[in-house]
């Protein structure tokens, strides 16, 4: 599979702050690539350089083997984290306006159908709900039948149901053959949608692979989760090196039987016990020592 986008040694600073430090990666055609990291990790700056919105201080970005130019602008679909639209314009009018920017465009009716825009096509864009607006922005990003799509935290601020709907629509776009670059700080979202992920922290990529491969490479243990109220903190930390998060105590173990025996031996109630595989959230914590959404 060939690379549609190649990023080499990107650097970007704002005054004394270096937001992106020597970042390099490649995106395969037809895949979904996730750029993960906490707020301030440098993912939005990286994606905006790839979109041609910001100019890198150093490094190169190649789209289909060439520097970003007219072909890229015509073939890229972009959905920003926050986008304001012109005032007093309806959904239909903004779709028509954007369709006039490109030489080859999708049918507005079909996009309206696909993203359930019909009910508010003639409504002022300022009066849309959060979910409606995200659907419109996604439809706008698809108006030019893009070969590559950039989705910068597309589900931030959405309720769980709207988020799942948007995931379904992104999956559909991917199935139709578009390459997707997604930034998110929702691990579940990355796991659900991405074929490959790169984790960023302090402007650098600190891990890069398929989600399952990354988890397999870093973990051969599981997490035993007990309600925090059931295991006193001093015992949990001393006997199991447990990590207390919210209302739970997390015990990482490579031998579940022995851990449970030890818990029973200490008379710890196991009514709320859960055993789960390690996830991307754990991976991030392991790699950076930080909560992803912190």
């Amino acid at each position: 599979m060939s690379f549609i986008l190649q990023v080499s040694n990107l650097v970007k600073s704002f005054g004394s702050l270096t937001a992106v430090r020597d970042v390099s990666f490649e995106i395969r055609q037809g895949t979904c690539f996730g750029l993960l990291g906490p707020n301030g990790a440098g993912k939005t700056t990286t994606i905006e350089m790839m979109e041609g919105i910001k100019t890198p201080d150093a490094g190169t970005i190649m789209y289909q083997g060439e520097a970003l130019g007219t072909q890229f602008r015509n073939e890229a679909g972009i959905m920003f984290q926050n986008t304001a639209l012109q005032d007093f314009i309806t959904v239909r009018e903004i779709m028509i306006q954007f369709s006039r920017f490109y030489p080859d465009t999708a049918s507005i009716d079909e996009l309206a159908e696909q993203f359930a825009l019909h009910d508010f096509l003639d409504q002022d864009t300022r009066k849309l709900s959060g979910g409606q607006k995200q659907r419109l922005l996604l439809a706008m990003a698809l108006i030019n039948k893009p070969k590559i799509m950039f989705l910068d935290e597309p589900t931030t601020g959405l309720d769980p149901q709207s988020r799942r709907n948007l995931w379904r629509q992104v999956q559909q776009v991917k199935e139709e053959g578009a390459t997707i670059l997604l930034t998110t700080h929702y691990m579940e979202e990355a796991y659900e949608l991405c074929d490959e992920i790169a984790i960023m922290d302090h402007g650098r990529i600190i891990a890069h692979d398929a989600p399952d491969a990354l988890l397999a490479a870093h973990f051969d243990d599981v997490v035993v989760q007990i309600q925090a109220a059931d295991i006193p903190r001093d015992i949990g930390e001393r006997e199991f090196q447990a990590i207390y998060r919210n209302d739970s105590a997390h015990i990482v173990t490579g031998d579940v039987n022995r851990t449970i025996e030890h818990l029973l031996h200490l008379d710890i109630p196991l009514n709320h016990l859960r055993i789960r595989a390690r996830n991307l959230e754990d991976l991030f914590l392991e790699l950076t020592g930080k909560e992803l959404r912190g």
Partner: protein, 337 residues
């Protein structure tokens, strides 16, 4: 390219037309101002008569007695030639040169007739002879004089704030960023903004002009086409000023301040409300730097004197050349973010 410009042009037009409050304001404000000046300021002045006096030392004898007449405003002028038009247009009732005992009067001016009687009476007491010279010309009401400036001022507000403020708002809220992610170029975006604002301002001001002319029947001695050209060129120039302000600023507060810095001096120093003839020479020179001075002066020359393109070519040249310079600078320093 034209498709993209057209798309942005249509969107901006819709935004302007649907923003009812600002549309109403841009039409009603100049009408309100014109009516205020047409009626409220044509008041009964206690100094009912205005006499121009050619300077030449202290007045003596009959001239001094005439100069002491109460309720007559005496305005000093340096020379006869440049002051005669004021008698022709009824801006002063009589022009008197005490150095030669000659006076100029417009026979169609009722005030001139009365002031002449006062002058003759003053001289009769001293037995000195006077020489009457008649001039011709229609009365210029203040409203005839102020209309070109008010239209120019309306264009100025519309151009500076309609372009400058809108682009800054687009930048602040990320509309420009979204457009940048499309094949739209900076030049296409700016061209669409200029064209949209230009046609909307021309349309609004044509409506105001025609409507006001219907009600007030103001003086129009020149060519409508020439007047249209002046307002068009003036609009382009002022739009380019707005573009320059909006090229980089992303804060509405800063834009507001800078736009006010541009507009208020023009409002008062461009000769819109009062003539700058008697003003300090430095102020007169400064006024020549302001585009609205040239728009107002050129429009006034066309409407009041019936001037042709040759007579106003200096104003057109200044407006044209500075528009090109402003546009080039604005486009070069323009930033999407």
């Amino acid at each position: 390219m034209w498709n993209r410009i057209y798309a942005l042009f249509v969107a901006r037009n819709l935004e302007f037309i649907r923003d009812r409050s600002s549309l109403a304001w841009s039409v009603l404000l100049p009408i309100l101002i014109i009516f205020v000046f047409a009626y409220a300021f044509t008041e009964e002045n206690p100094e009912k008569f205005k006499v121009g006096i050619i300077a030449g030392g202290a007045l003596e004898g009959a001239a001094a007695e005439f100069g002491n007449t109460r309720f007559v405003k005496f305005i000093e002028f340096a020379e006869v030639e440049s002051s005669l038009s004021k008698v022709e247009r009824h801006q002063i009732d009589l022009l008197f040169d005490p150095n030669t005992n000659r006076y100029w009067i417009n026979q169609t001016s009722p005030n001139g007739y009365i002031v002449e009687k006062l002058l003759i009476a003053a001289y009769a007491n001293f037995g000195e002879a006077l020489q009457q010279i008649l001039v011709e010309g229609d009365e210029i009401r203040y409203i005839d004089w102020v209309i070109p400036g008010v239209i120019g001022m309306n264009i100025m507000w519309g151009a500076l704030f309609g372009i400058g403020y809108v682009i800054v708002r687009y930048r602040k809220f990320g509309v420009l960023k979204r457009l940048r992610a499309t094949p739209v170029s900076a030049i296409e975006f700016l061209a669409a903004q200029i064209l949209s604002r230009l046609w909307l301002m021309i349309a609004v001001n044509v409506v105001i002009f025609v409507g006001m002319d219907f009600v007030l029947d103001f003086r129009m001695h020149g060519s409508y086409l020439n007047l249209f050209l002046v307002f068009m060129l003036g609009s382009i120039n002022l739009i380019c000023c707005g573009l320059l302000v909006a090229a980089r600023v992303s804060s509405e507060e800063v834009a507001n301040g800078v736009l006010n810095l541009f507009s208020w001096p023009m409002m008062f120093l461009s000769g819109v409300w009062f003539s700058l003839e008697g003003a300090h020479p430095a102020m007169q020179k400064f006024a020549l730097l302001l585009p609205l001075t040239h728009v107002t002066a050129a429009a006034r020359e066309i409407m009041i004197d019936g001037a042709g393109l040759v007579q106003i070519s200096d104003h057109l040249l200044v407006l044209g050349i500075s528009s090109v310079i402003l546009l080039i600078i604005g486009a070069r320093i323009f930033q999407w973010e």
